[in-house]
């Protein structure tokens, strides 16, 4: 564990330098331990692939105080990253209408569109953390043969629920945003609802699977949601 003072109000706790489930367990272990303290002086926790950024009230705590707090937590208990993690199945319709870049992914990887869909929906993915924007999950576990670079020019607006590939990453756009990922499908389920508790469909540490559905099922699920 390495601690870097990131600002007058935050420290970055680093556990390694590669994407690895064991390192991730340490990150989420510390995240859960700090969450459990429910200390109002700690304002925000940002887990990443190999680190946890701890943001605190600088009038109440110093970087040294937070470091001491973290060290006492680590000596008191072993990391328990998997507490409450779930397996979440996300239905995805891979129709061409929802996957305008499926043909590009197919051309880049040399796989048929059916094969791209089969591989994408048969893997299991781990939610390393949520970041970027509300409910956006950074997923690890996409088969290497599916790696495809992002679009040269991002789209001005990507529809919420769109499922895309960017390099070795895959993910779901929880809300409509600009985006440069290659779109291969769309889920009818809501990934982010600020008024729900919890507001996000998946949590850090969850395991995600994509279940292919057809257009009729997609419409059905959309109606159920409405």
């Amino acid at each position: 564990m390495k601690i870097v003072v990131a600002s007058d109000s935050s420290i970055l706790v680093e556990f390694g330098d590669r994407i690895d489930p064991e390192i991730q367990d340490h990150v989420l272990g510390l995240f859960h331990a700090l969450r459990a303290l429910d200390d109002p002086r700690i304002r925000n926790l940002h887990p990443g692939y190999v680190s946890l950024l701890v943001d605190f009230d600088p009038l109440a705590l110093s970087p040294q105080d937070v470091q001491a707090l973290i060290e006492s937590l680590r000596s008191n208990r072993a990391p328990a990253a998997r507490d409450g993690s779930a397996i979440v199945a996300i239905p995805v319709c891979y129709d061409l209408e929802f996957g305008p870049d499926l043909a590009d992914v197919s051309a880049y990887t040399g796989l048929s569109a059916e094969e791209v869909v089969r591989l994408h929906s048969s893997a299991t993915y781990r939610v390393c953390f949520l970041g970027f924007t509300g409910g956006f999950a950074y997923l690890a576990g996409m088969p290497e043969v599916l790696h495809t670079p992002r679009l040269a020019t991002p789209r001005r607006a990507v529809v919420a629920g769109s499922v895309g590939i960017a390099g070795g990453q895959t993910g779901i756009y929880p809300t409509e945003t600009p985006g440069g990922w290659r779109l291969i499908g769309r889920t009818p389920v809501e990934m982010f609802n600020p008024l729900a508790q919890p507001p996000t469909r998946v949590q850090s540490g969850d395991i995600v699977r994509f279940d292919p559905i057809n257009r009729v099922e997609f419409e059905q699920l959309c109606r159920e949601r409405a």
Binding site: S7, H46, S51, P58, F129, L130, G131, T133, G134, T175
Partner: protein, 315 residues
């Protein structure tokens, strides 16, 4: 009609007017930005002037202010960047509690010496709290007024107060502190060691222009290129408020209140908490310089600011 409460109708929305309070904390692990007032010091002053809780929900107006109509007599205060505000032909003084007569319109013009001003209304704006905050999250489209900036025709309600109080400022109290034009103070960023000492020294010696493509999520700077000596990709990590990240093009970006919670570019420096409100007042084409301070100096500057915020009031 007692108890019906005041409502405010937006006649002209201005360039970018949104409801903001202290911000939304405790949800960064879900990807949710803090949002909140870009210049929290001015938000606090405006609220205290009309007797509100210092971090109550108020209107944040950007570059060009809004025109709003009040249906009941309402006590308001405007703080932040200088901006010509009028009710009919009467000028409204900033940093001073002012009663707006029923049925009249408050017109706020362009800001002249900063980017943002705050309109606080006695009783505070009544919008539903989402995840503990009234702040508008424009990227996530929630919070504030329907999750978006204001449009003409929007009607906001104001909380009713039973015992209105006002708190005037000492004359001239704001001048020296709020008009400081010196370098923005920074501490080392989380990836400071990805940059050579010489690069960091140049970063501090140079001045940068704030690009037109700047908003509450990030201020893009234009100037001499800053290059990391590390060429490897950073594994996406958490971004503190006010982090200065350097993408491949070498043009730094100050990540601000509506920022993404995680990112993949190295962070060379970080704006100190005491200077965060000054970032909220930067306008496109402003020149900025940075000066390095230690963490104890940064904390002392913040404590001094808090002390100052206590002594500016008439008792």
């Amino acid at each position: 009609m007692p108890g019906a409460g005041v409502s405010i109708r937006v006649v002209k929305p201005g360039l970018f007017t949104s409801v903001q309070d202290r911000g939304r904390f405790g949800y960064a692990h879900l990807g949710i930005s803090p949002c909140g007032a870009a210049d929290a010091v001015s938000l606090r002053i405006a609220n205290l002037l009309v007797g509100n809780d210092e971090y109550a929900a108020a209107l944040e107006m950007t570059l060009l202010g809004a025109t709003v109509e009040f249906d009941e007599p309402t006590l308001v205060a405007i703080s932040g960047a200088n901006c010509e505000c009028k009710v009919g032909s009467n000028q409204i003084a900033p940093n001073c509690p002012v009663e707006i007569p029923a049925g009249s319109m408050l017109e706020c013009g362009s800001t002249t010496d900063g980017a943002r001003c705050y309109l606080a209304v006695q009783g505070a704006l009544d919008v539903p709290a989402v995840m503990g905050s009234a702040s508008t999250d424009s990227r996530g489209r929630f919070g504030g007024y329907q999750g978006r900036r204001l449009q003409a025709g929007d009607i906001l309600s104001v909380r009713h107060v039973n015992q209105p109080r006002i708190r005037p400022l000492r004359t001239g109290a704001l001048k020296e502190e709020m008009r400081s034009r010196g370098a923005i103070r920074v501490t080392s960023g989380a990836q400071r060691d990805w940059f050579r000492n010489e690069t960091f020294a140049n970063f501090l010696a140079n001045s940068y222009a704030v690009s037109e493509q700047s908003d509450r999520a990030g201020l893009r700077l234009k100037g001499d290129m800053v290059s990391a000596r590390e060429t490897r990709q950073l594994l996406t990590d958490g971004i503190p408020l006010g982090a200065i990240q350097v993408p491949q093009d070498g043009q730094p970006i100050i990540l601000f209140v509506d920022q993404q919670t995680t990112g993949g570019y190295p962070k060379i420096a970080n704006v100190i908490a005491a200077d965060m409100h000054r970032i909220g007042q930067l306008r496109p084409r402003d020149e900025v310089r940075f000066a390095e301070v230690s963490i104890p100096e940064a904390i002392e500057a913040l404590r001094a600011q808090e002390r100052w915020l206590k002594v500016i009031w008439q008792d």
